[in-house]
Symmetry: C2
Subunit: 244 residues, 2 copies
């Protein structure tokens, strides 16, 4: 079994507060109910009511909304350590769907578990609120990206953000990271057509900035990419240099 300190959630929250032994014990208890989900089969479907929340421990998930005409918009990508579906605990029905990208493992979190955390580990509770606020800030930044940036900048920004987030759980660096997304995922996330995603990726590759290929993202010129994307990681609220 994984050591508590190596659970992705522990690594992530450590960026915000120093976790005590008691906090870590609570995190371990939150991971009691382990669940596995198969690739492509929705965990939660938009319109469903009374859904549980999850903490993702292995694999990637995307949360998206389907429109009546069939087009899809990916709202956010979840990587290990991220919460999933916390919001739908409060609203009567889930307003979006979750699709595992590849096989995943997640811990189920019930409303009662959260109350336990708030009662027993207030510092941890604060850290969780921090994570939720940060998720919201990411959605906002995503919106700005789509609304006011061209395809190239969007793509660069998206790949950089994922890199920073993965670095927080020790799964990425300034050199690159493994990435199970397809070009279709990128298209649905960035509000582009799959064809255009392909062209933009080629362009970034030819410019010697970044390569997206065979499930791996490789940064060739990190600084120039940051410049192109106007990527300012302040909204991620991660102190100091994260990508080393």
């Amino acid at each position: 079994m994984t050591k508590v300190e190596n659970i992705p959630l522990s690594r992530k929250l450590s960026a915000f507060v120093a976790l005590s032994k008691a906090d870590l014990a609570v995190i371990e208890r939150l991971h009691r109910r382990r669940r596995s989900f198969a690739s492509g089969r929705d965990m939660v479907h938009q319109g469903q009511a009374g859904q549980a929340a999850y903490i993702l421990s292995v694999g990637w998930v995307c949360s998206y909304k389907i429109q009546p005409d069939g087009t899809r918009q990916i709202v956010d990508i979840q990587v290990p350590g991220d919460f999933l579906g916390l919001r739908s605990v409060l609203l009567r029905t889930s307003d979006h769907s979750f699709e595992p990208i590849g096989e995943i493992q997640a811990a189920e979190v019930l409303p009662g578990d959260l109350l336990e955390v708030f009662a027993q580990a207030p510092r941890l509770a604060l850290a969780i609120l921090w994570a939720v606020s940060r998720d919201e800030a990411m959605v906002v930044e995503h919106l700005v990206c789509i609304g006011r940036r061209d395809a190239e900048a969007r793509m660069a920004h998206f790949l950089l953000e994922l890199g920073s987030r993965l670095a927080l759980v020790k799964m990425g660096s300034k050199a690159g990271y493994d990435c199970p997304l397809t070009q279709y995922h990128l298209a649905d996330a960035l509000g582009l057509s799959a064809v255009h995603v392909n062209r933009v990726l080629r362009q970034l590759r030819d410019s010697g900035l970044v390569t997206f290929r065979d499930g791996h993202v490789t940064f060739h010129d990190y600084n120039r990419l940051v410049e192109l994307a106007e990527f300012d990681p302040a909204y991620l609220d991660q102190i100091g240099p994260l990508l080393k």
Copy 2:
């Protein structure tokens, strides 16, 4: 002085829970610290730290992000009864700015006030969490709109959403509502150019769907507009027919 039941926040939260007299008293107390802000002058500027939160009681506010190249993306519009800046209480710095649209009045809310609510009025606290979740759902829907809809549908959706939200605080109906936004605001909110906003508005007007003019939105054919926008208000979590 306004009766408590007529404070916009009371009206809004009533859509979620029946408020007791004690709850109303707490809402009244939350409105102790009244503040006025002048049009156009930012209340909070992105990058600032340690900001207070507010409850908007009179007037409209927009929250936005400015990019290095000067382009602006409006993330959300706040109307009476809405919270403002709750998120920046937790993150170290505010990731976006707030600009009053016209002169506004708002009640300042300090972190201590929130603790008081959570301790004294748990039902009200739940209602506030509902409102926060709903705000988040609106940002998500906004993202989908910008990512996957054309200019006409975006505009229609935006005007309809505002209508529904205003109906909740008795400031709008299926006939229309007063709206202090300029075409520039619409452009920055929808990720369009101001020129194109003008064209789209003309198109909607000529089709006999909706008129945006002289600070007033008039719905001519509400149902056809809903159809065009593919507007499904489920994400607003407002039960029953709101617009009568």
